[in-house]
């Protein structure tokens, strides 16, 4: 019962933050709304018994990515951009397409709803969520894990070269 209440609270926070993110004129307000939305998503992770991802979401997204966004917003002068038109000319077409896809997704989810009752939590035994994830990550998905480190290295080098004054 309490789960239901918390789900609706976090869902409301997430969607409200998302809508504010794409509708604000000032980019800093958008970033703060995005933080609100990400906190809502983190709460949903906690509700789904994914404690490790909850921590990752807070530390990495809200602590890391959002600071990066705010740095860039302050580095790039957005004062003139805030005075201009915020939406492009095809906004009505995009809105219609998104509404159509939304109606379609909603229809099919309602069709399949009886098959999707929530199962029991992932880790019923004494083992914690972090341990379970670590076992799967380092046994079954060791190669993708190592490849991810290569991806991060490429991203670091790439972004440093992009942002350098002269290559």
């Amino acid at each position: 019962m309490l789960d239901t209440v918390f789900f609706y609270i976090f869902a409301f926070v997430t969607l409200l933050g998302g809508i504010l993110t794409i509708s604000r004129r000032n980019a800093v307000h958008s970033a703060i709304s995005l933080i609100v939305s990400l906190v809502g998503v983190a709460g949903l992770f906690l509700l789904q018994k994914a404690e490790f991802l909850f921590a990752v979401q807070i530390v990495l997204y809200i602590g890391g990515v959002m600071v990066l966004f705010l740095f860039v917003i302050m580095l790039v002068n957005l004062d003139e951009a805030a005075k201009l038109r915020q939406f492009n000319k095809q906004w009505w077409l995009a809105l219609a397409a998104v509404a159509a896809v939304g109606a379609l997704v909603y229809y099919f989810l309602r069709q399949g709803a009886p098959a999707l009752r929530l199962a029991a939590p992932v880790t019923p035994s004494g083992e914690g969520n972090v341990e379970t994830i670590a076992k799967v990550l380092f046994e079954d998905y060791l190669l993708p894990f190592e490849v991810a480190s290569l991806l991060l290295l490429a991203a670091i080098v790439g972004s440093v070269i992009m942002a350098k004054k002269r290559v």
Binding site: T21, V98, L109
Partner: protein, 103 residues
């Protein structure tokens, strides 16, 4: 009267967040906000992965959510690097004013 939450609830929420992000990518002119909308889309994917991880009682979904977060962080870093380089050369952050490759 409160019904228990099912995986369908999470899927509807995730679809709604994904559509909000898509709308942001398709309609906004400011590139910074387009990048933020991409983050929203990736978070919608993560909600879905976690919901199905719980639904099937297996943590593989959570492991893949970690990979999605890794890719999202790399994408944000590279995207913002490109944005800084672009602003230095073109003095604009409006997506529809960057038309070098347009015919």
């Amino acid at each position: 009267m409160l019904y228990p939450i099912t995986t369908t609830h999470y899927m509807i929420l995730s679809a709604a967040l994904l559509l909000i992000g898509t709308l942001g990518v398709l309609t906004r002119r400011n590139i910074v906000i387009i990048l933020m909308s991409i983050e929203l889309i990736l978070n919608a994917v993560n909600i879905n992965l976690i919901a199905f991880s719980r639904h099937f009682g297996h943590v593989t979904g959570q492991v893949f959510a970690i990979f999605v977060i890794t890719v999202a962080v790399a994408e944000a870093a590279v995207g913002l690097g490109v944005l800084i380089a672009l602003f230095r050369n073109k003095e604009t952050v409006q997506a529809d004013e960057i038309e070098l490759l347009k015919w």
